[in-house]
Every structure is written in C-alpha cells, then in structure tokens.
C-alpha cells in the first residue's frame, strides 16, 4: 500500500510528539517521586506517617501537565519534520519538494515511494533507557517508602513527661485542696474542667502548653488563697493583720515536706519541739524525703508545724547558705518569710547580721495575671488584706505634705557599722531582702564583693 508523503510526515510527527510527552511525563514522575520520598522521610523523622491515599491521584496532574507542556514545546512543524524525515530516508530533498507542492514526474515519485516504504524503520525511537531508568527508580523508591509500615509509637518525649509531671503535681495539690473542702464549687468545677482538658490532651499524646500549666497553677494558688480567706472568714477570729498573717502562714503539706527535707539536711530538726520533731521523723522516708500525706492535714496542725520549723530555721538561716543547695535554702527562706519572721530574726544582732526594724512588706509579690498581661482581670483579695494594717499614720494636716528628699548621709546604715552591709535593709522591700542577702552571701563566699 503506497504511503503518501503527508501520511509519512504525520506518522513521524506523532511519534516525536508521543516521545516528547513521555519524556516530559517521566521528568515530572522523577521530580514528584523524589518529592514524595523526601516528604515521607521528613514526616517519619517527625514521628508521623502518611500512607498512600486516593487523593494522591492528584499527583498525576503535574505529570500529565508537564508531558503536555513538553510535547507542545518540542512539537515539530511540517517543514522541520519533512527535513528530518527526508534526511532519514535519504531522499536528498525529494520529500521537501513533494511537501512544498512540486509536481514530481513518475520517476521521482517512484523513487519517493520506494524510500517511503522504509518509513517504519526510520521513525524516531524513544530511548527507553534514558527515559525510564531514573523516573522508575524514583517511583519505586517513593512507592516503597509510602508502603513502609507506620513507625512504632515514639517514646514519650522528655518534654511531654515533664509537663505531665507538672500536671500531676497540680492535680495532687488540687486533691489536697478538695480534701480540705474549702474551695467554692464554682472555682472547683472550673479548675477540675481545666485539669480534665489537659489530661485529655496528654492522653492524646500531645504535650500541654507550659502557658496553660502555669495559668492553672496560678489559678490554683489563687483558689487556695481564697479558700484560706474563706476559712478565716468562717472562723471569724483575729484582726485583719493577724488573719493575713495566718493565711500567709498556711503552707500546704507538700511545701512543708520540702522544707522539712531542707531542715533535716541542715540538721536543724533537733531545734524543733520534740513532739513535732518526732512527727516529722515519722514522716521521713528512707531516702530522706518527707511524705506530705504523713504530715498533719489540718490547718492548725500545719500552722503549728510551720511555725516551729520556721523558728528553727530562722535562727541560723544566714549560716545555712553555706550548707544547703540553693533550692532547699529557698524552701526554708520561703517558710521563714511565710511565717512572718525575717531571715536573721532571733539571731544575735551585729555587723552584717541585720535585724528586723520595719516588719514584713504590705503586699505579696505575686506573679499573677498582672505579670502576664491580665492586669484588667479582677483579683479578689482576701478579707483583711485590702487595708494595709502596717501603715502607721505619722501626722494629720490640712495641707499637702512638703516633700524634701535628703541624701542618705549615713550610707551604710547604723546597723551595718558603716560598712554598707545594711543599705539593703533601708531601701528594699522585706520580701526582696533575702535575695539581696543571698547575693552578698555568695559574693562573700567566692571572694568577690565587699
């Protein structure tokens, strides 16, 4: 059957177009496969797994689009196709003439037909090796990576563990608070709900945010404060200042257990009254820690224990800075300050020792919502703390007072013997003195400072 030049050119162009489409598609397969492999590896590094899904069929779109684009780009026009085919058939321009409408005499036509019969042998052949090897290799790798079994559940990360422990600690405190039964039902349900939400998050394998934990802890402290105020309100005894001191002196069993451990480490348990010391020793575990549950759970018992421990610790708190690690020293200092005593109270007055001359500050340094941008949130103060009782009126005038600040000509303070050691006592709030004193203690120990 004779092959017309037009049919031969069409077959040639189709073959080139198909090869171009295939080349483009395979190029896209290579890129997409490499992308899939990289994505799968990245997900597995993150502990996730993305199994093959029907939606992955969308990946065919770039493959087909690239094939179409390349086929369009490499499309041959008639003249070019005729040029290539003419050379492949060895027609020496005869096909070009026929395509341009030249009338060929029978001899030339016969020669053309004879050569056109060899068309199948000269049609372009795709270079399968060049076309398929890399894309198929990448595709196999992608399929293999996607079909790998899901990675085993990762061990809980330390971060998750730490947050879970913090949540457990909060839950423990909450249980203590519930056991005392002082928490208003509204606050109780709210805190319970938050704890429950965080638990669900932990159960789902997600690490709760530290922000949520801190917020919950602060809410819990506030609730404790309110509960203490509520208890005192119910008891109805004492002045406002006494009530405020009592509230501040109501540590939790857990806090007392930590302070007791510090006290035992400092060897000060013997300075406590014998019955209380015996009770503490009974709560002491083999590893030296104290079981909060073995401590008195009632408010009176806790208060008495805290006062005794504070008194024992307060007498030599300055010396303990050399013996105890900072954490335990801070626990003791908090206990002493919470009890209304001041570090060094009861100690012998002298140079560098300092002494109580103004009493505790009138406001607690609470890092509550104010420190987190929640200044506009109302914080109900416990009864009795609204009026600072330690304010002492020094005069009553009809006119505004004249302020004439004077330089401190006696720098160093009388109590410090003019060495500057008592300056902090004159200018710092009582609650901050411990920090400053700790700093000077450390600098003394390391040979720096004064």
């Amino acid at each position: 059957m004779p092959v017309t030049p037009a049919a031969a050119l069409a077959a040639f162009s189709r073959r080139v177009a198909a090869a171009s489409f295939l080349a483009g598609a395979m190029q896209a397969v290579l890129v997409v496969s490499v992308g899939v492999v990289l994505a799968e590896i990245a997900l597995r590094v993150l502990g996730l797994h993305l199994p093959p899904q029907p939606i992955w069929g969308v990946l065919l779109v770039p493959v087909l689009a690239t094939g179409w684009w390349r086929q369009r780009r490499e499309q041959l026009d008639g003249t070019v196709a005729a040029g290539h085919l003419d050379r492949r058939l060895g027609l020496q321009g005869l096909l070009l003439c026929a395509r341009e409408g030249q009338v060929l005499e029978p001899a030339w036509s016969a020669h053309l037909q004879e050569r056109l019969l060899a068309l199948p042998a000269v049609l372009p052949r795709p270079q399968w090796k060049k076309l398929l090897v890399l894309p198929m290799l990448a595709l196999s790798l992608a399929v293999g990576t996607a079909l790998l079994p899901a990675p085993p559940a990762q061990a809980e990360r330390p971060q998750l563990q730490a947050r879970t422990a913090e949540l457990e600690k909060i839950a423990e405190q909450l249980r203590d608070l519930f056991a005392r039964g002082d928490l208003p039902a509204e606050s109780r349900s709210e805190i319970e709900q938050k704890v429950q939400e965080l638990r669900q998050k932990v159960d789902a394998g997600e690490a709760p945010e530290w922000r949520d934990l801190d917020q919950l802890e602060q809410q819990l402290e506030r609730a404790e404060l309110l509960a203490a105020a509520s208890r005192e309100g119910k008891d109805g005894g004492g002045s406002g200042r006494e009530r405020a001191g009592d509230i501040a002196q109501s540590p939790t069993p857990a806090a007392l257990a930590k302070a007791a451990a510090a006290l035992a480490a400092a060897g000060l348990l013997d300075d406590m009254p014998a019955p209380l010391a015996a009770g503490l020793l009974a709560a002491q575990a083999a590893d030296g820690t104290f079981d909060p549950k073995a401590l008195p759970q009632d408010a009176e018992g806790l208060k008495a224990l805290a006062e005794a421990m504070a008194k024992a610790a307060g007498q030599s708190l300055g010396e303990l800075a050399q013996q105890l690690p900072p954490g335990q020293l801070a626990d003791l200092r908090a206990l002493v300050e919470g009890s209304g005593l001041q570090p060094g109270e009861g100690e012998q007055e002298g140079v560098g020792r300092g002494g109580i001359d103004r009493g505790p500050g009138h406001a607690a340094l609470d890092m509550t919502e104010d420190a987190q941008g929640g200044a506009d949130k109302a914080l109900a103060l416990p009864p009795g703390l609204a009026v600072p009782q330690q304010w002492v009126p020094i005069g009553d005038r009809r006119t505004e007072p004249t302020v004439q600040p004077e330089n401190n000509t006696t720098a160093g303070g009388a109590g410090a013997g003019g060495m500057g050691g008592a300056t902090w006592q004159l200018q710092l709030a009582p609650r901050h003195r411990a920090v400053v004193q700790r700093f000077f203690d450390q600098t003394t120990a390391t040979g720096r400072g004064k």
Partner: protein, 338 residues
C-alpha cells in the same frame, strides 16, 4: 505548484556538464574538485577567483574553459601600471570621411570570458574598473554605457605568496566573485602522469564541448533546479551564523570574525547549490549541496579580526566551524528519540 525537472532533463544536464568537466580534467590533471567548482561557477554565470602558487595550472584551466565553451576569450595580465582604460577601452579619435570623431574602442573586457591574471598586481583604480563590469555586465566610459557580451565571466587568478607590490582586492570586489577557489598542489602520481603524457607541459588540444545553444540549455536547466524552503532556510542560517554579533553564532566566529557574509553570499550559495544538485543528478537542491558550495562561496567574504589573522585563523576553518555548528534542520529532534 510547479513541475520539477524530469529525470530525462536532469540526465541531459549531467551530460552537458560532464562534457565540460571531462575537457577540463583532460587539461588539468588531478584537480577534479577544482574543475567541479569552476564548472559550477560557470553554470550559474558567476565570477571565479583562483588563488594558488605559480605553476599549478590556473591559467591553463581558464584557457581551457574558454575553448571548451566556444566563447570569446581575452586575457589581461594585470600589472601595477595597468590603467582602467586599458581594460575597459576608451574613445579614440578617428577620421571618417574627412570628419574626425571620437569612437569607442572596446577593451579586453568585451569578451565572454576574461582572464584577469594576477589581478592583485593591478592598482585599486584598475581593480575598481572591474566592479561595474562584474556586477552590471556593462562598462561606462565618458558617460556612455556599453553592454558586455553575455555570458560574461571574469576568471581571475592571484598568487598568495608574492605580496610585495600587490594590492589586495577590496572587500567589495571580493564579494562579487561567486567562488574563491584555492588551487591545491598535486601529488607525485599526478606529476608522473603529467611528465609522461605531455611534452614541455603543453596540454592536449581540446575541442569545443558545448555549442552556444547547448550552453543556453545548460543555463536553463540549472535555473530550473528547485530550491526547497528548508534548504533555503539552511543557507540563510549558515550565512547568519557568520556574523559575530549574533547570539547563536559559533564561538570561532565570535572570536575571529569582524564582518560576516552578505546576502549576496547567500544568493551565491543558493545558485551554486543548484549547479551542484544538477551535477549530482538531482532535480532539487539538498543540504549536502549547500555544504559543498558554502566553503568556496563564504571563505573570501569573511573579514577576520586582526588578532585572529595574526594567531593563524583562516576563513576556511571558520566556515567549517559554522557548518559544523549549524544543523541542517533548524530544530533538532528531541534528545529522547534516536
């Protein structure tokens, strides 16, 4: 839609060409390519510049062509004191019936074949006198234009080594030569053949190979050879690639060429390729014909950089690089097919 040459016509054309070729080959032994180039140039009525060392048979070849074609033949030995009027002719005062008047006396240019031997020895003034003759096939003297006999060929020779006292041809004149063919030396076998077959190197006597009608027929057949569009496009791309400022020019061109080939070069290649196709027995031009004729048609039209000339670059090498760089079909097949 036109009709291409028939196989019989192509056969006739080949026969006529073969007669001229055989005659030339009988005179000039061992120079078949050179003879083919000369015959191609004659078939398309182009001028030819032969460059070669003395004694290679340049002049003999041109004389043989004149005899074979049966055309009027003049030889002009170009020398530095040759004046334009010496080749174009000029008015001379003649006494006719008692009246004296200026009558134009044709010079040696008024012949079908003019051999300008050692053309580069003439002064530029004389060389320029050839410009109009070569391009317009006419001569203008004192405001009077005289047509030259057709066909008109200038076959010039020049010696590449004796440059002292010569005047290199200006580019404009070089451009008017269809081909510049370098006459190669011959090997020992050919020289042996020359020594044994000829006394004193005299070529054998040759007879006229073509009549005037046959020559016209040959011209007609060459003109009827079809030039396909794809091949014309190839010629154009080859010529364009000789221009150094083009982005797709080969590196050799960008480095060595100062000015590329003119459109006249493309026309010359197209015309010469027709003759080459007929010589090869085809009714149409093929890419191979372009490759065959491009080098002699392009080499003398390229103006090289001085630095390239000093560093030994030759135009023939540049043309070869261009032909290597420019694909016959302007868009190659995709890489993924073979």
């Amino acid at each position: 839609m036109t009709t291409m040459l028939t196989a019989a016509q192509v056969g006739r054309g080949r026969q006529l060409l073969a007669r001229v070729q055989d005659g030339c080959n009988a005179v000039l032994l061992g120079q078949r390519d050179l003879v083919d180039m000369c015959v191609m140039a004659l078939c398309v009525r182009g001028h030819l510049l032969l460059e070669g060392l003395p004694g290679l048979g340049k002049t003999e070849l041109v004389k043989a062509i004149g005899r074979l074609l049966g055309l009027s033949f003049r030889r002009v030995q170009f020398t530095p004191d040759l004046l334009p009027g010496d080749i174009t002719g000029g008015p001379i005062l003649q006494d006719r019936g008692g009246n004296r008047q200026f009558v134009f006396q044709p010079g040696p240019l008024f012949a079908n074949i003019v051999l300008a031997d050692e053309i580069n020895r003439a002064s530029p003034k004389t060389q320029s006198a050839l410009l109009e003759a070569m391009q317009e096939r006419s001569v203008t003297v004192l405001g009077e234009t005289h047509r030259l006999p057709l066909p008109f060929f200038v076959l010039a020779t020049q010696n590449p080594i004796e440059l002292e006292g010569t005047y290199p041809l200006p580019e404009a004149q070089l451009d008017r030569f269809l081909f510049k063919v370098e006459v190669p030396g011959v090997d020992a076998d050919v020289m042996t053949q020359i020594l044994t077959s000829r006394r004193r190197g005299e070529p054998p006597a040759i007879e006229k190979a073509l009549t005037a009608a046959e020559l016209d027929e040959l011209f007609t057949l060459v003109d009827a050879v079809f030039l396909p569009q794809a091949v014309a496009n190839y010629i154009a791309r080859v010529c364009a690639a000789t221009h150094p400022h083009r982005a797709d020019s080969p590196a050799e061109v960008k480095k060595a060429v100062r000015f590329g080939a003119s459109p006249r070069a493309a026309i010359a290649i197209g015309e010469a390729a027709r003759a080459a196709a007929l010589m090869a027995g085809r009714p149409n031009v093929d890419f191979d014909d372009v490759v065959r004729t491009a080098r002699p048609a392009l080499a003398h039209r390229l103006v090289l950089q001085h630095t390239a000339v000093v560093s030994g670059a030759v135009p023939a090498g540049i043309v070869r690089a261009v032909l290597d760089a420019v694909p016959a079909v302007h868009k190659p097949l995709p890489e993924v097919v073979s």
